[in-house]
């Protein structure tokens, strides 16, 4: 097991290096730079002055030099400063990461709380009205885009309830009640979308497991239906569900970009998108690397979860 983990961690190094090269290259391929964005609408800055400012910001150095400097900063856990705002990137991330983690965690929890019971209910009442309702909900969740659902939710909350989440982010420690109000709707929007795929997967795997011999044996032994479904069937049905949930993490992070914008939350999604628009190379690169590292780690954790869910699985 330990060897397996170490091997996976070592394999992650070339993956991350490749990611760093790709993101570094892509940012340089895009035309324009942070300085152009910063000077936007001014129209007063001459080409000579722009060149000087670019050199001051290190944008005039050869690409390989820029890459190595950035890589060293990353390894030494000091990603440097934002070109656009001059704010230390670590400080910007320190403010935005907790927002995204909170949003993603709440969304994931809400998604699972909806998806697993509804999926099981759909499976145990297959082709009955409850199943149809569950399937309709799942298909809706898959087909409604986040931006549409988010806009709809905030518009109708204002129209019907004359209430929307209070604007102006407050942290969980600063004002828990205000924070909860701010996160509940966006998490519900994200969670609803996440729950759809999980719900469908739970339904189909539970249906499959319910047809297995050992489940029939459990029924034959006269066990209570709840125990058969939740203790014997569900645990074995969860492996593909965990895979789906693990795979959705990328979708979840992408979804936060839109939802954070609609609900005015200062998370990583907004930070990254704005950094891309303003060609803030160090911020984009650092954020992408952070996401890549998170995904690699979470995928490893998902793989390790299999062994916990199914004792027959061993890693060597």
């Amino acid at each position: 097991m330990h060897k397996y983990v170490i091997r996976r961690l070592l394999l992650a190094i070339p993956v991350l290096l490749l990611s760093s090269l790709i993101v570094f290259g892509l940012m340089r391929v895009m035309p324009g730079d942070a300085l152009t964005a910063l000077m936007a609408e001014s129209g007063n800055v001459g080409e000579r002055e722009l060149r000087k400012l670019r050199e001051d910001l290190g944008l005039g150095r050869p690409y390989h030099e820029q890459y190595l400097i950035w890589l060293w900063q990353l390894v030494s856990l000091n990603p440097g400063y934002s070109i656009f705002t001059n704010e230390p990137i670590a400080a910007a991330l320190g403010k935005s990461i907790p927002v995204t983690i909170e949003l993603a965690t709440l969304a994931m929890l809400l998604g699972l709380v909806i998806a697993i019971p509804v999926g099981v209910l759909s499976a145990t009442r297959a082709d009955k009205p409850a199943d149809y309702v569950g399937r309709v909900v799942a298909v809706s969740g898959l087909s409604l885009p986040d931006f549409w659902l988010g806009t709809l939710v905030i518009t109708f909350a204002a129209l019907w309830l004359h209430w929307i989440p209070p604007l102006g982010y407050a942290s969980l420690w600063e004002s828990p009640w205000r924070n909860l109000q701010q996160f509940l709707l966006p998490a519900a929007v994200l969670g609803f979308r996440l729950s759809a795929a999980t719900m469908r997967m739970t339904r189909s795997t539970v249906l499959e497991v319910l047809r297995e011999d050992y489940v029939r044996t459990a029924w034959a032994k006269g066990l209570e239906g709840r125990i058969v479904v939740y203790k014997h069937a569900l645990k074995n049905a969860l492996i593909p569900v965990v895979t789906i949930v693990g795979g959705q993490l990328g979708t979840l992070l992408a979804g936060t970009v839109v939802v954070e914008t609609i609900f005015a939350l200062p998370g990583m999604g907004r930070l990254t998108v704005e950094a891309i628009l303003f060609r803030d190379y160090p911020v984009v690169q650092t954020n992408v690397m952070l996401v890549a590292t998170t995904l690699v780690t979470l995928n490893l954790l998902v793989d390790l979860t299999y062994a916990w869910l199914d004792p027959r699985i061993h890693y060597q």
Binding site: M30, T36, L38, T261, P266
Partner: protein, 564 residues
């Protein structure tokens, strides 16, 4: 045999015939649609909302908190490095300028261009308009925070600030025309210009020319972290992408003002969320682009106060590489201009509430807003004449060209496509459109590294006459993005800078505009008007013609009060 012919006809409707008939059908529908549009021309919806709201006659009530959900975020706090509305939506409240335009509660109407003293009490020029002397107010104090600690503002502070602006950054163009400065005493600043400019005080009244504290620049090396000024509000909090909080400055020189204790700007990038915030009372001010949106808001908030904001200029137009063929031929420019149906754009894109487009604010040369007909023959939609003119220029079969743009607002893509269709249909000019992201667009546009066409712009922060004439049209100006190179324009814009009489200025401005229209030097496109919507308790908030209260005209918020 009566049944044979229809059968035979049906048999002959092959793919080609079907497409031909479908084409005629489509054309017929097009005529109907255009016809419907034309019918609407004579019955354009009239806005029921006033374009001017007079100041309240009641005595102002001090106190309260004003909140606004804003789409803009300041990129940096350093006014030398950006002209972004994100910064100047509040920098004009933390800081002052030497001079300013009249506020709504002092103005006679939206077009009142009277200059008032801000930090300067009075100002005058030498007979040759090369030396300007500003007498500063006495007893103006910097904000009572370290390192200024409420010390008095002196002329040397302004001198240092102007020198820093000239040295580097986005404002250098305005301040580099300063040859030298002297401070004969604590409260007098004498500015020597390189060439005469009667409009220099107007340039200093632009919202971006705020006076910053030299101590901050000396201590921090830049102005990115702290914004300390002499203005009516202190910057209490700036949390990026969350909020900007301004607190009333109790030591402000204009005693009794500002009235509102705190002004909070909430970063809200999504339009639907800003609308919802206004509806639920979380935001006191809202900008809407269309009458339809206003009517929707009024259904839930019937007491909301609405001001129609009529634009005095269009910020966007078709920029042509007029230093190169084929656009260096005036006949080609005129033909293109006549091939474009501007009225159709106003009707279809802006619900009939738009201006046909011009670059110099009309208030500088006439009292009433020009009509499309007044813009001259080359600005009318005359496709057949356009075709003849293009043929005379040697392009009877049209030509191919490119156009790049950035979608500043949702209708812009449709607007660009309408121009593309007009040029193809009327002149057989094939325009290949490229939509770019902002940074790419901006970089390519301002660095003039393009051929063909661009969807050009002029920036929105500065509206002074000098800015809109000399700075944007003189061939030697760095802001001449439309690549105007016309000796008469150069002569007139220079002459304007040497003409102190307002009446003569209007005459010269008129000549500049006439020349621009005649030579189609900048091909302005229609632009929408908009609406400022306020909660019913907000008083003295009306926007003047040149600036919106929620944007570059934010300094007006110092005069606003809440009737709660």
């Amino acid at each position: 045999m009566p049944t044979d012919r229809p059968v035979a006809l049906r048999q002959r409707v092959n793919r080609r015939e079907f497409l031909r008939r479908a084409g005629w059908g489509g054309a017929g529908m097009g005529v109907l649609i255009v016809g419907a549009g034309r019918a609407r021309l004579s019955a354009q919806p009239v806005s029921p909302y006033p374009d001017w709201i007079p100041p309240s006659s009641k005595p102002p009530k001090p106190g309260g908190v004003l909140t606004r959900a804003s789409s803009w975020d300041p990129p940096v706090l350093d006014p030398r490095l950006t002209q972004s509305i994100g910064l100047f939506q509040f920098a004009a409240l933390t800081s002052n300028r030497l001079v300013r335009y009249a506020f709504a509660d002092e103005a006679s109407g939206t077009n009142d261009l009277t200059l008032k003293g801000d930090l300067a009490e009075s100002w005058q020029s030498s007979p040759d308009h090369r030396v300007w002397t500003f007498k500063l107010r006495q007893g103006v104090k910097w904000h009572n925070v370290p390192p200024l600690n409420g010390r008095e503002l002196v002329a040397a502070d302004v001198k240092h600030c102007f020198e820093a602006y000239a040295k580097e950054g986005v404002q250098s163009f305005t301040f580099r025309e300063i040859e030298g400065m002297e401070t004969p005493d604590k409260h007098t600043l004498r500015v020597h210009l390189q060439s005469p400019n009667v409009l220099f005080p107007q340039n200093l009244a632009e919202p971006i020319t705020v006076i910053f504290a030299r101590e901050v620049l000396e201590e921090d090396g830049d102005l990115k972290k702290r914004l300390i000024g002499t203005g009516p509000y202190l910057l209490k909090e700036h949390t990026r992408k969350v909020r900007v909080v301004l607190a009333r400055n109790p030591d402000y020189f204009d005693k009794g003002r500002p009235y509102v204790d705190e002004y909070t700007i909430l970063s809200t990038p999504d339009a639907a969320t800003r609308l919802a915030a206004f509806r639920t009372g979380q935001s006191d001010i809202l900008w809407l682009a269309s009458l339809g949106e206003v009517e929707t808001v009024r259904k839930t908030n019937p007491a909301a106060v609405v001001q129609e904001y009529k634009n005095v200029l269009a910020p966007f137009g078709l920029a042509l590489a007029q230093d190169k063929p084929p656009f260096n031929d005036v006949r080609v420019r005129r033909a293109i201009s006549m091939a474009v149906d501007r009225q159709k754009q106003v009707d279809t894109l802006f619900e009939g509430h738009g201006i046909p487009g011009w670059g110099v604010p009309y208030i500088y040369y006439q009292d009433k807003m020009p009509t499309l007909a007044q813009l001259g023959p080359w600005w009318q939609h005359r496709p057949s004449e356009a075709k003849k003119l293009l043929a005379e220029a040697g392009h009877a079969n049209g030509f191919e060209t490119t156009l790049f743009y950035y979608e500043y607002f949702p209708q812009m893509t449709s607007q660009v496509q309408l121009v593309q269709q007009d040029l193809k249909r009327n002149l057989n000019i094939n325009v290949k459109i490229t939509k770019l992201d902002y940074t790419t667009y901006y970089g390519r546009y301002v660095e003039s590294k393009w051929d063909g066409m661009a969807w050009g712009f002029q920036s929105g922060h500065a509206v002074g006459l000098d800015e809109r004439t000399y700075q944007y049209m003189h061939s030697k100006s760095t802001k001449n993005f439309f690549r105007v190179n016309d000796p008469l324009i150069d002569e007139l814009t220079t002459k304007l800078r040497q003409t102190p009489d307002r009446g003569e200025q209007r005459t010269i401005a008129r000549k500049i505009v006439d020349r621009e229209y005649d030579q189609v030097l900048r091909m302005w496109m229609p632009y929408d008007n908009g609406f400022l919507v306020f909660q019913p308790h907000v008083r003295n908030m009306a926007a003047l013609a040149l600036r919106r209260t929620d944007g570059y005209g934010a300094s007006a918020i110092a005069r606003l009060w809440l009737d709660k």
